[in-house]
């Protein structure tokens, strides 16, 4: 993984497997590994991936005031015609909402106003949460495939799919111009274009929940993507009970007893991300969900 600091001198560094191109985006360290001996190719592919990630961040991050998403969130109920990419993402989110029985909901972002997962014990009160529930629920949003009306006070947050979508798009930006084996990793959500030269697998380190041990094991990956949900740093602890930062949008409360982290492998980053989030949203039944769905995953309780 790339050093966290923003001041990485030269974005491109040589590594045993070729070159690594580092940058900061989506509030996490990002790296593009390119299995080539040609530094210019590696830098070009790295820049392409970075450009795509920044484009998506600029468009869909709710932390950026000038992003389209922020514009939507300020629309206070007005009807907005969105462009085809946003429409495709909203359709996708809608399908995920239906698939997950309402558990995956991009309108649950407002809950962040109440919940600060800083390891402390300041949980919000039930009344505060109840007051916020009327502003949560995808069913309250009117969306016909091109025109959106977001009721006043509600907010959209593509947190669950934004970063994974950026990884998949970055991979497309690379495969669109070159067959060169590459890996894109945005803060732990990663995907490869295919096996390394000579059919080798990529070695990827998975950040474990246990802060003491930086990396837990190495995964060898020839195809597809890997994402990890759950995070050792974001939880609340009150009279012995641990509250994970995974919130159930239907109740506004943290999911009960989810695994500490789930890592999922799937062909695309979006699928891996969604499946790991959905698994966490199952709380106690996470393992059963992963098994019955036949998802290749690793989890830590």
């Amino acid at each position: 993984m790339c050093p966290d600091d923003d001041l990485a001198p030269e974005a491109l560094t040589a590594v045993p497997e070729g070159f690594r191109y580092c940058f900061q985006a989506m509030a996490s360290p990002c790296e593009v590994r390119v299995d080539t001996s040609d530094p210019d190719l590696a830098r070009d592919l790295g820049r392409r991936a970075e450009a795509e990630v920044r484009r998506i961040e600029a468009k869909f991050s709710r932390y950026r005031e000038d992003s389209q998403l922020s514009a939507i969130n300020r629309s206070a109920g007005a009807s907005i015609t969105v462009d085809s990419e946003t429409a495709a993402l909203l359709n996708y989110a809608q399908h995920c909402f239906q698939l997950s029985g309402g558990r995956f909901d991009i309108t649950s972002g407002v809950l962040r106003r109440l919940w600060r997962f800083d390891g402390s014990d300041n949980l919000p009160t039930k009344a505060e949460v109840r007051r916020l529930l009327p502003f949560i629920g995808w069913r309250r949003v009117s969306w016909d495939g091109s025109v959106l009306e977001l009721p006043k006070g509600m907010e959209l947050d593509l947190g669950g799919i934004g970063k994974e979508y950026a990884v998949d798009r970055a991979i497309l930006a690379i495969t669109g111009v070159s067959d060169c084996p590459s890996l894109v990793n945005l803060g732990g959500d990663l995907r490869v274009t295919g096996p390394r030269r000579g059919g080798e697998r990529w070695r990827v380190a998975i950040e474990s929940v246990d802060r003491a041990r930086l990396t837990d094991g190495l995964l060898a990956l020839a195809h597809g993507a890997l994402t990890t949900s759950g995070d050792a740093r974001r939880f609340l602890l009150k009279n012995g009970r641990r509250y994970s930062h995974i919130l159930d949008p239907r109740t506004g409360w943290p999911v009960v007893d989810p695994p500490r982290s789930v890592t999922v492998a799937a062909p695309t980053c979006l699928e891996a991300g969604l499946l790991s989030t959905l698994a966490m949203l199952q709380g106690r039944h996470a393992e059963r969900f992963l098994r019955t769905e036949g998802i290749s995953a690793w989890w830590v309780r």
């Binding site: 359709n91 094991g217 995964l219 060898a220 020839a222 195809h223 597809g224 499946l275 290749s296 690793w298």
Partner: protein, 176 residues
Amino acid sequence: MPASTPFQRDGLPFRALSVIPRRSALAGLSLAPLLLAAPTLARAAPAEDLLHLDSYRGKVVYIDFWASWCGPCKLSFPFMQRMLSAFHRDDFVILTINMDHNRQRADAFLSDQNQDGLPVIYDPSGQIAKRFGVKAMPTSLVVDKSGVVRFTNEGFFTDRVSAYEAHIWELLSEKH
């Protein structure tokens, strides 16, 4: 709650495990086009039922595999342009899939043809073409409203243009 055990999977301590899922998440999954190769052991679903273009449900989709070096492909672009303007965007979608290994040549071809209307998906490694069992260049697939590939045209012959157009009309007239 036991102390955090190392990653746990089938009871195997987790070392450098390759991604070999017990029952692949993709078993039986019908992969629509852009899914790149599934993890190593996944069975590739047969080409026919691959194309459940969910979001195109209710629309007829014309998918054309082309490359800049292929003579007949150049002839198919005016036809596709005409079809695009002949039918309403809500009923009919054209997706062209470029197979060039060299992106510059594909773009040079497109700028020659001044093709801004037709969406292009770049597939230099032939993943999509493999999935659809493309056997000739160009190949066009005509997909009905419920996502089933109904017509496959191998090659492009100007004296068969009326037949190609008839396929589209036929599928458009079907109820979905």
